[in-house]
Chain length 547, copies 2
């Protein structure tokens, strides 16, 4: 038996999600893969287009392991590039379109991107980002995605357009297979993107595992119709960019959306599946009852009970999961028990707001004392840090072994999130990682906002926490104490906000600034953020804002 404990030629072929596309081109050849405005591509079209694009990417000199970045909304090009760039051997890095030029420039430099695909609406942002790159560093080649833009667009700085690259490519291109399970496939930057960018690298193997796992957990049938309300740049659409090719889905793309766009897409395309942070559920809550069931997966922040109830009453079947960029998709889900259907609606919502249990692809999940590493009691009360173990965990942070080894230790990944374990084995997050605020599905680092605040000459101390917001979940709220401003008048709260505006992406700018004589501190001089969180909570909801 011992002599057989080794892989062989037939079974050692690396696990990868890339083969999903090739297979879809056979099984779902004439079925729609991508639907966008008046455009439909079948799976056989999509495979052919991706092969051609991959060959053109190779022709631009991209080789195995190079980073290819994408700065574009949820349009067909973004979907196709997930396969095309990686089939050329590259690692794909989809950049959050909500970031400001300065941050984009930092990411391009950190990732050493060789090639960037840019949507026509983000030309200015990329040009500014490129101009901010230091002269010594090699500038990436840029490709323009003209998409539904005007017929003539300025081509300065761009080596080609997306469609010309597709058209001029070779549809017999021999795509690049991974050599090992552990070959990197994706790079996704997570919060903490300015001072020290954290680039999460996932392998082919990890991505395969999370992709099939996420399909099973959600019970996605073959040939679903998926409406892309979740940005594909969020952990590759929580892995569903890959998974939807495995099941031959119709991917309905939207450049931007509001409630009315979502409802008409749901109606026109008979959408069966969609994902989104609770803010998307919020947006849907003004709608009318659906004429067919739509499955919606929510994650990123615990959905408030009222939002769950309202969404379900409209005909949405809500599933609640939990994952991080570092897990590549959902790894904990509130697996529903049949008997819970008999409970009153509020109890159901309370149960569904819990994060739940590990998915079948995960090896282990626990809540532990962060110092001792010992599991906390399963009492639903004792708090501890959520730790994860499983094949889909990231390879590590790019060029940051220190941060990597800080969170991967004792054979666990330490999430930084605080939770409890209920007696029934379901886990619930009680407090997220101390320095993260989740606003409209975007994780933002309070430390980053604070570092901008501290750059104001009159700011003495600054601390940023989340303030509850009916629509966004929460928004950044800054507590600031001032010091002498060199004789000049002290700034107002509004002036402090204005100061932040040019220096941070819009969603990171504090929506409330509270000026205080002094910030509450521990005996050792540490600012007591939990006190500030309580104050922010007691301030109630900020004035309702809209996307």
């Amino acid at each position: 038996m011992e002599s057989l404990r080794n892989p062989n030629g037939a079974n050692s072929s690396p696990l990868t999600p890339l083969g999903f596309l090739e297979r879809a081109a056979t099984v779902y050849a004439d079925s729609p893969a991508l639907v966008y405005n008046d455009l439909t591509y079948t799976w056989s079209d999509t495979f052919r287009r991706c092969l051609q694009l991959a060959s053109s990417i190779s022709r631009l000199g991209i080789v195995k392991g190079d980073v290819v970045s994408v700065l574009a909304p949820n349009i067909p090009a973004t979907y196709e590039l997930h396969f095309a760039a990686t089939m050329a051997g590259a690692v794909i890095n989809t950049i959050n379109t909500r970031l400001d030029a300065r941050t984009v420039s930092i990411l391009l430099r950190h990732s050493e991107s060789k090639l960037v695909f840019v949507d026509y609406q983000l030309i200015r942002a990329i040009q500014e980002a490129i101009s901010l790159l230091p002269g010594v560093c090699a500038h990436p080649q840029l490709v323009l995605i003209t998409d539904d833009g005007p017929p003539s667009l300025p081509m300065d700085h761009f080596v080609d357009t997306y469609e010309r690259m597709v058209e001029s490519g070779d549809n017999c291109f021999d795509w690049v297979r991974p050599e090992s399970d552990w070959d990197p496939l994706t790079l996704n930057y997570t919060s903490g993107t300015t001072s020290s960018p954290k680039g999460v690298v996932h392998s082919h193997r990890g991505t395969f595992i999370v992709a099939v796992d996420s399909l099973l957990e959600w019970g996605v049938p073959k040939q679903p119709v998926c409406l892309w309300t979740l940005p594909m740049f969020h952990a590759n659409g929580w892995s569903y960019v890959w998974g939807m090719a495995a099941v031959g889905a119709t991917n309905v793309c939207l450049r931007k959306f509001d409630a009315s766009a979502m409802y008409s897409a749901i109606r026109n395309h008979k959408v069966t599946h969609m994902c989104g942070a609770p803010v998307v559920l919020n947006m849907l809550s003004t709608g009318k009852k659906l004429d067919h069931t739509v499955n919606i997966m929510t994650a990123g922040a615990p959905p408030p009970a009222a939002v769950l109830l309202r969404t379900e009453s409209l005909g949405f079947e809500v599933t609640h999961g939990y994952g991080l960029t570092e897990t590549g998709g959902l790894v904990i889900a509130c697996s529903w028990k049949r008997e819970w259907n008999l409970l009153p609606a509020t109890d159901r919502a309370r149960l569904k707001a819990r994060q739940g249990v590990r998915t079948i692809g995960m090896t282990a999940v626990d809540v532990v004392d962060p110092d001792s590493g010992v599991s906390v009691s399963r009492d639903g009360l004792t708090q501890g840090e959520i730790v994860l173990r499983g094949g889909c965990l990231m390879l590590g942070y790019l060029k940051d072994p220190e941060s990597t080894s800080k969170c991967i230790r004792n054979r666990w990944f330490y999430t930084g999130d605080v939770g409890v374990m209920h007696p029934d084995g379901y886990l619930e997050i009680k407090d997220r990682s101390k320095d993260v605020i989740i606003s409209g599905g975007e994780n933002l680092s309070s430390v980053e906002v604070e570092s901008v605040l501290y750059s104001h000459p009159a700011v003495n101390e600054a601390a940023v926490v989340g303030r509850p917001d009916e629509f966004w979940g929460e928004t950044p709220c800054a507590f600031v104490s001032l010091k002498d401003n060199g004789g000049k008048p002290l700034p107002t709260a509004e002036e402090i906000m204005g100061f932040c505006k040019g220096k941070l992406p819009g969603y990171m700018v504090p929506k409330s600034v509270v000026l205080k004589e002094e910030l509450p501190k521990t005996s050792t001089g540490k600012i007591q953020k939990y006190v500030l969180r309580e104050i922010a909570k007691s301030m109630g909801f900020a004035v309702k804002s809209r996307i």
Copy 2:
């Protein structure tokens, strides 16, 4: 990027299906896991029972890598032992209950089984098998599964009963996790079991992959009701023994079954899923229309169009797949295209009888010229050998590196099955491995039957081929030429059959024997089996037989 191409502590935990059970005990705690006669075990019962049994198995001295065998029908014990034995660190070997004592004895010796769980109805068979073991070889410990047997059974030779081992075990047992992806998990003997037994060994990783893949391919939802009409000893129920724990199924067990038992189980338990060789579909074909849809997966032999049509007309949704013991489950399936629903029934049946395309867990499937290894034309006409590559392929044959390297070469597994590739990328088997006859879902080796025939003193030449059978698919048909019998009268066809009876399992005994002056041969003296196959075909169906 290069420095990250390695596993780390959090993501290198081996892939294994064993964790499915632990998770099911949390998620599906109070839902039925096993239903059998008047007995129901929930998933929390099942996990507890398996832990207890695993601890008792350990106490008997079983350590990591030891082989634990099971000789029992589809009863709860067989299901539980898949998890309990392997959670004790053992490799599980389920033995085909249709084998004769001589073959069982060969398998026990070849596998070096340390412990054998035996159903009370198979006491005589195991005692005979043990008595046939050479004195020099260590005899396995035997455990009696009393199940629904009479209250008092002879305990000679048995160290304990199954239920006493469960009851006396420790439900806090720390079950044995695999140390590596490639640790062996299962051992399954495939045809060719007498002279040179071929013991297929699968790893934890391979089994995890095929289990999740088979769930996705079949689109198995959570909490299905699975009727066990497929023997669990056939590739661990085509991997569904593991998969059903992943989705928290209700496993309905049957000790033995006929059409009426199946139909009452379907009705009483609202069965949603079942598997079986085409012979099971045959058995069902006499029934009345179902009041709910039952999904049935068939494989093992191509289902005849008439059988498909009849089964579907009764309300069964038939899926057709292909796999081998060496793949641990189905790796090719006739993935259905929506547009095919518009075709006439006979065209649908013809399309469904094709084996199909690789599942998403497989890396590659092809039909190649066996000599050159080059892919055959995709014309649906050119025949070649079916080759497979993917993570679920076996580790190899136990103690048989020669056979292993014969079928695993050029990074492919060579199936021995002959097929064609259709222009649409769907594969169809045209002729199975030359020496295999498939009778009622059992693969049997013509070479083995021939070797018994040759042991008759009057047999000059013998060749065994499959003869079409309306019920069994095919049955073994022997062509024999005789020589001088030392002055004694030459044997009749019936006497030849009688001669085989004591020497082969029942299903391997030729159901027809044709005496010929001489067998057709090539110029080099090789018996032309294809000529004999044609003759057998022209003989028409054998007299209809029943299980």
